[in-house]
């Protein structure tokens, strides 16, 4: 370790980053991810486009249609068209579901005879279809419950569910998504920043400065890491402020834990990019490789949309190979729960993140050659 050399090299790297006007894009990326995705990704499926064909046109069936119209989950239209025409609308992706109320709906309901309600749902997005199915069923059964209560002759046993969510009382989508997005943003943007740092020198030939100079490998890596690390330390703070003040996500844990784990995580992400930069020989490969191993896994394995616990086989294993999952567990805890270091799992995950940083950096150090490859 030679502090003087590191200082000089760091300064040179820092100036280089500044001169390419990187300072703007460095922060634009995590900001965009957090703000756009925070407003864009939704767990609840609202405004599903459903079409009701009311063949009965009676008072009671009208009431059922009203129920659908007043629900924020549906954009309901009513039409009197044939079934095949309606199905064509689904085929053209103009409607998500069709509900067909039979002709004798009212008569049968009063006489308590069997009623068939046919529902057609577009199944091409399976999860969405499932959610819509549940919503529609709830609306119909809820309607029948109310109907039965009005007429005590139908003696019924009614069970109501009173959901209370811990940590996220209002079931706000923002609370559930934004902490996870921080994990995605702090994975993708540091990695893409360092991915080209070394391979760029290889392509341009300036790497010979490193081969020829007296600087040793670890000093070189440290000097390469410091400027991006400092730049993204600021992102850690910016993302926190946006989450708390723009999205109004509660913060229940300790800020120190958030800060420390985020810095550690940024270091892991930077090392991922740096490792890519060390093993590849051209900038194109480095860029494409980084994109492939950060964007999709960062999103899929972050636990924002897909719970890790319900993944199977290959995906389950792959999820554990990426740091996102561990960091996001800590991020969700610091924002929504606040258990902090009293939870063994969080301590374990912190250790795993440190392990990631150590292994990646050592691997990079080992693979970095200080002479020309033949």
């Amino acid at each position: 370790m030679n502090i003087g050399v590191i200082k000089a090299y760091t300064l040179k790297e820092f100036k280089e980053l500044m001169r390419t006007r990187m300072i703007f894009t460095v922060y634009a990326l995590p900001l965009t991810i957090l703000v756009l995705f925070g407003y864009g990704i939704r767990m609840e499926v609202t405004h599903s486009r459903i079409l009701i064909i009311d063949n009965d046109q009676s008072k009671l069936s009208g009431e059922l249609v009203e129920k659908f119209k007043h629900s924020k989950y549906f954009n309901t239209t009513e039409a009197n068209i044939s079934e095949s025409k309606a199905l064509k609308l689904i085929k053209q992706a103009k409607k998500d579901a069709i509900i067909i109320i039979p002709t004798s709906f009212e008569k049968r309901l009063i006489k308590a005879q069997k009623i068939d309600i046919a529902i057609f749902i577009d199944g091409s997005f399976p999860n969405r279809a499932h959610t819509i199915e549940n919503y529609i069923e709830s609306v119909i059964i809820n309607y029948l419950q109310n109907y039965a209560q009005r007429y005590p002759t139908f003696s019924t046993n009614i069970i109501a569910i009173n959901p209370r969510s811990l940590f996220n009382q209002a079931m706000r989508d923002e609370d559930a998504i934004v902490p996870g997005l921080i994990g995605l943003a702090l994975f993708v943007s540091p990695a893409i920043l360092t991915a080209l740092l070394i391979v760029k020198e290889k392509e341009k030939g300036t790497i010979f400065n490193f081969y020829a100079s007296s600087i040793n490998k670890e000093d070189f890596l440290i000097a390469k890491l410091i400027p991006p690390f400092l730049l993204h330390s600021v992102s850690v703070l910016i993302l926190f402020l946006i989450a708390v003040y723009l999205f109004r996500v509660p913060f229940r844990g300790s800020f120190a834990l958030y800060w420390f784990s985020s810095e550690l995580y940024v270091l892991v992400s930077l090392s991922v990019g740096l490792l890519v930069s060390i093993v590849t020989r051209s900038q194109i490969v480095a860029l494409v490789l980084t994109v492939i191993i950060t964007i999709l896994p960062g999103f899929l394995y972050s636990g924002i949309i897909l719970p890790i616990s319900s993944m199977s086989r290959e995906s389950y294993i792959e999820a554990h190979m990426f740091p996102v999952m561990y960091y996001n567990h800590i991020a969700y805890d610091t924002f929504l729960i606040g258990q902090g270091l009293s939870s063994k799992k969080i301590v374990l995950y912190l250790i795993i993140l440190m392990g990631f940083a150590c292994v990646l950096l050592n691997l990079g150090w080992f693979l970095l050659k200080k002479e020309l490859k033949k």
């Binding site: 390419t20 990187m22 990326l29 995705f37 407003y39 864009g40 939704r42 499926v45 405004h47 599903s48 689904i90 085929k91 998500d96 308590a112 068939d116 046919a118 749902i121 577009d122 199944g123 399976p126 999860n127 969405r128 279809a129 959610t131 549940n134 919503y135 069923e137 059964i141 019924t156 046993n157 009614i158 069970i159 569910i161 959901p163 209370r164 940590f167 079931m171 559930a176 993708v188 893409i192 920043l193 991915a195 080209l196 490969v285 860029l287 494409v288 994109v291 492939i292 964007i295 999709l296 899929l300 949309i305 897909l306 719970p307 616990s309 319900s310 290959e314 995906s315 792959e318 258990q339």
Partner: protein, 360 residues
């Protein structure tokens, strides 16, 4: 003219094949990546851990719990007090807690409204939402309505809700998007950085031809990758149904790749070096991939984003592919997806031609 065009295409293809690292990465993303996403990803809850506190002495409550079974739920675990249950949820051992209070059974027998308290770990919102609706339906079936109602649900196109279809297809579309933006962007910006682009423009060949040829060469690579994925992974491994015309899918993919290459061209023309290209393409790709309607339906988004997504070619491509693969939409009804992709592509190329298509 044609000769110049073809030789540029051939040169770029050769360039690609010689860079074996790139070939490996591209092949990996088209095969293994799509396979992993399709084989193990599930959005619906599985193995959800349930805990309960029962103050009623059993009976109805046990009958309700009986309905929580595999594969969605792990057998419910009993807790003695609500405090213990909350603690277990805190430690993430239990995801859903159910509390039957003392009056529950009494009210139920007396035909009054009986209430169950459900505690959800909402830090896992997606599981919570779906688990809640599962519970709601189990319980609703339990509320014995004397009205015999038969809700007859038909899920069209994918009756078993096989998520592998969806995940594999979405992953493929994401890979196509990433590569068809990145590869052309890199091809152009590399020449720009090395200065050979200016030489290219000085040659007696129409710059438009050069740009189109270079884009086409990258699109050929993408198309080859798509054919491999569709044949090997989508049809070969996952047996995805193909209800629409196959040529429509290929044609749409071709146009889409052209439009994305246009985005790549745009990125290359505004950025000065590789570093900037990397940052910019990330900045553009990520919203495209995740906000084009695959994960959240566009109509459920914030109204401003809903409007903005009209600018995303991927929005048309996803809807179009879903229609072709699953809905089996006829070719005529696909025109809007083709139109959306083509209009955006033309605008991008028009800009690209103007911006880097001339020397001064």
């Amino acid at each position: 003219m044609i000769k110049a065009f073809l030789s540029i295409v051939a040169k770029e293809l050769l360039d690609f094949l010689r860079s074996w690292g790139l070939v490996v990465v591209v092949l990996y993303s088209f095969t293994v990546d799509v396979y992993i996403a399709g084989s193990g990803m599930q959005i619906e809850p599985k193995n959800v851990s349930v805990g309960y506190v029962d103050y009623t002495g059993g009976g109805i409550s046990q009958k309700i719990l009986f309905h929580l079974h595999e594969p969605e739920f792990v057998a419910p675990k009993r807790f003695l007090s609500q405090k213990q249950l909350s603690e277990a949820i805190f430690n993430k051992e239990i995801m859903v807690g159910i509390v039957f209070d003392q009056d529950f059974e009494k009210n139920y027998r007396k035909h009054k409204k009986a209430t169950i308290d459900v505690l959800l770990d909402a830090t896992a919102a997606s599981q919570s939402f779906i688990t809640l609706s599962y519970l709601q339906n189990i319980v609703l079936n339990f509320s014995k309505l004397n009205i015999p109602i038969d809700i007859d649900i038909h899920k069209l196109f994918n009756p078993n809700s096989d998520e592998r279809y969806f995940m594999a297809l979405v992953e493929l579309l994401s890979v196509v998007t990433m590569l068809s933006i990145l590869l052309p962007a890199v091809v152009f910006v590399r020449e720009k950085e090395e200065g050979t682009w200016d030489i290219m423009l000085l040659m007696p060949v129409d710059p438009k031809i050069v740009i189109l040829a270079k884009s086409l060469s990258q699109i050929i690579i993408i198309m080859a990758g798509v054919v491999i994925t569709v044949g090997l992974v989508l049809f070969g491994t996952f047996n995805i149904p193909m209800n629409g015309p196959f040529f429509a899918f290929l044609l749409l993919t071709f146009f889409y790749a052209f439009t994305s290459a246009g985005i790549g061209l745009f990125i290359a023309s505004v950025s000065e070096g590789m570093m900037q290209t990397a940052q910019l393409s990330m900045l553009i790709m990520m919203p495209l991939i995740f906000l084009s309607g695959a994960w959240t339906p566009v109509y459920a988004m914030h109204p401003i984003l809903e409007k903005l997504s009209l600018l995303s070619p991927l929005r048309y491509y996803i809807e179009g592919c879903e229609s072709i693969f699953f809905r089996g939409t006829s070719f005529i009804d696909l025109w809007q997806y083709f139109a959306g992709v083509l209009v955006l592509g033309s605008v991008l190329y028009w800009y690209g031609f103007r911006k880097i298509g001339k020397l001064f």
